[in-house]
């Protein structure tokens, strides 16, 4: 595909990029919402979309790496990891000022341990990743319940200010997600490790025969997704004024949905960082669009589901044409 694109017009090149569709959908939802208010509140809407989209983008990029590993690879422990990391980090910080960095280290350490545990189940016990991460997530959930004790500990003031603050008019959490996105993109497109990951996802056997350390690639990927989830949990808890036991729930479906809408192949071996960002914005914007049109929760869900399926169908027919 990339060899052909050189001779095509810029527009054709743009359309051939799989990430353009999620951005177009996000722009459409944005325009449809503003159409109702005849353009008022554009800045606020964009700001909210960037804030909430950032969390979805962070967990989505982690999930993307795992899904890139190939069929059957998925991490269902994302919500539990988010909750556990946030709970333990906030408990350690105990609203003391100046402990934000300490809390971050705790959260990332939780993510690291969870990733190692998940991969141990998958590699040592040879469990299918779906079932291994599902069973393990029940345990993480229990640890979170046990350490939380129903208390809602506030984040330290400075951290809360950072999580809800802005820099150059863009929410700080969006900056974090953006930096991560660039890191992941460089990793995937420019570094050997990313090539190994894609090769593993396209054909694990061929990759192994070609000398790719397949198991090491898988291990690092499962640890990365857990660390991404932990970071998202830490930021989300600081953003929303404390960790709650159900704070991660919606991010399970969200993390998978943004990967798919973003144009990554669910069969693995193909990933797409900008698309995930576009999809994360889209998922927020579509809900706010339906909200501003005054639809009830039931109708909103039906429409969200229908839109997801329509995008998947559109993406697949586009692939078939090429």
């Amino acid at each position: 595909m990339s060899t052909q694109s050189a001779s095509r017009t810029p527009l054709a090149v743009l359309i051939s990029r799989p990430w353009i569709w999620s951005w177009a959908a996000a722009a459409l939802a944005f325009a449809a919402t503003l159409g109702l208010t005849s353009g008022r509140g554009a800045g606020e809407l964009a700001y909210a979309a960037l804030s909430f989209g950032a969390f979805a983008a962070i967990v989505g990029m982690g999930q993307m790496l795992v899904i890139t590993l190939g069929p059957g690879n998925i991490d269902l422990s994302v919500p539990a990891t988010m909750t556990l990391a946030a709970t333990l980090a906030l408990r350690t910080m105990g609203t003391e000022p100046g402990t934000a960095l300490y809390g971050l280290v705790i959260a990332l350490a939780v993510g690291f341990c969870v990733g190692i545990a998940n991969f141990a189940l998958i590699f040592l016990l040879r469990l299918p990743p779906i079932i291994a991460t599902l069973a393990a997530s029940l345990i993480y959930q229990s640890i979170a319940i046990w350490s939380n004790r129903g208390l809602r500990i506030k984040p330290p003031e400075g951290l809360a200010e950072f999580a809800t603050g802005r820099f150059l008019g863009v929410p700080n959490v969006a900056w974090v997600a953006l930096v991560l996105a660039i890191l992941v993109w460089v990793l995937l497109e420019r570094l050997t490790w990313g090539r190994w990951l894609l090769a593993t996802g396209q054909n694990q056997r061929a990759a192994r025969l070609a000398g790719v350390p397949v198991e090491a690639v898988r291990a690092v990927t499962y640890v990365s997704v857990a660390i991404f989830a932990a970071l998202a949990g830490y930021l989300l808890a600081s953003f929303s004024g404390g960790a709650a036991l159900n704070m991660g729930t919606e991010y399970l479906l969200m993390s998978i949905a943004v990967v798919v809408i973003g144009g990554c192949s669910v069969a693995g071996g193909d990933s797409n960082v900008p698309g995930v960002w576009g999809a994360a914005l889209f998922m927020f914007l579509v809900v706010s669009m339906l909200n501003s049109y005054g639809t009830g929760a039931g109708v909103r869900n039906v429409l969200t589901g229908t839109i997801i399926i329509c995008i998947v169908i559109a993406a697949s027919t586009r692939r078939a044409r090429q």
């Binding site: 345990i139 009830g296 589901g305 399926i309």
Partner: protein, 309 residues
């Protein structure tokens, strides 16, 4: 090979037996008609949902919407089927057709099932919320009677489980049609070379899943007498776990209906067992995960033995 296949069903049977023995040891009073009924009561809808999930795994797909679908069926059962039985039946039939159509579309357009079912879970959940915005409704009288019937010798839940396992075993393992359906998971290309339409067969597999999903929702309402839009959301994960516990595989059309039913019973029993242990409620969910990992680890030993034999 015959050794291997015999071992496959042994594992779910042994794990259920061990767990049952442990439960009886902890709580000897459970060893009665009434006790067994209490232990396994809620297993019937879970077993039916597990069978539904098995139909999808059988054709190499996965269904992330079955929990939302069972919730929707429960809402329809507690409202329309109770107030206007004919309309209710029509809606349930339409839901089964919708499932079959979903299977046909997934195959015809080569869509990833995991994503389509994920999207459909929003649709089913939204419809359920639309029908029943707040918990309520009532179970039709005949359904309530059916689910609380007290047959001689064995409690209803046990009889129903055996019946479900027998019927689905005959359908999927023994019948020619079931063999072809499993063939779609095993080697879809061979099936289409043999002149059969894979799209039509996938529609059948999904339709069967929808049918058992409908039965699961109805059974659930018969037990709980009321419904709400989130009543069965956890069934999605439970059903996947049940199929795998029962010796099924994610790919290759390797499924066992009997194993799936036993897997569902094991999961239900694990919850009861943990409450008998007087474990702190904090750790109940976690121990369920630990039991799941333990049983699946045992599966590893069995499959190694199977490879050797």
């Amino acid at each position: 090979m015959s050794f291997f296949s015999r071992y496959r069903i042994l594992l779910p049977v042994i794990s259920l037996a061990v767990l049952l023995a442990a439960t009886f040891y902890m709580q000897p009073r459970a060893m009665s008609y009434f006790g067994l009924n209490l232990l396994f009561n809620l297993a019937v809808p879970i077993a039916l949902a597990t069978i539904a999930q098995m139909m999808i795994l059988m054709v190499n797909d996965i269904d992330l919407s079955i929990g939302a679908f069972v919730s929707l069926v429960a809402c329809v059962t507690a409202t329309f089927l109770n107030d206007a039985p004919l309309l209710g039946l029509l809606i349930l039939a339409a839901l089964i057709l919708a499932y079959a159509a979903m299977g046909a579309v997934i195959d015809a357009l080569e869509l990833p099932a995991i994503v389509v079912t994920l999207g459909m879970s929003f649709v089913w959940g939204g419809l359920a919320l639309f029908i029943l915005p707040s918990p309520g409704g009532a179970a039709p009288g005949w359904l309530r009677t059916l689910m609380t019937v007290k047959p001689p010798l064995m409690p209803m839940a046990v009889v129903a489980s055996i019946l479900i396992a027998f019927v689905t075993h005959m359908l999927i393992i023994r019948s020619g049609f079931g063999t072809v359906l499993r063939g779609v998971g095993g080697n879809a290309r061979a099936i289409s070379r043999a002149g059969l339409s894979v799209t039509r067969l996938k529609a059948w597999a999904y339709g069967l899943a929808g049918f058992f999903g409908v039965l699961a929702g109805m059974a659930l309402v018969g037990l709980t007498t009321a419904a709400d839009a989130n009543i069965a959301l956890r069934y999605t994960l439970l059903s996947i776990a049940g199929v795998i516990l029962g010796g099924g595989e994610f790919t290759g059309g390797k499924v066992s209906p009997t194993g799936a039913v036993i897997g569902a019973l094991t999961l239900t029993l694990a919850a009861s067992f943990l409450s008998f242990l007087r474990l702190s409620p904090d750790w109940q969910i976690g121990s369920q995960g630990a039991i799941l990992i333990l049983v699946l680890t045992a599966r590893l030993i069995f499959s190694r033995k199977g490879d050797a034999a």
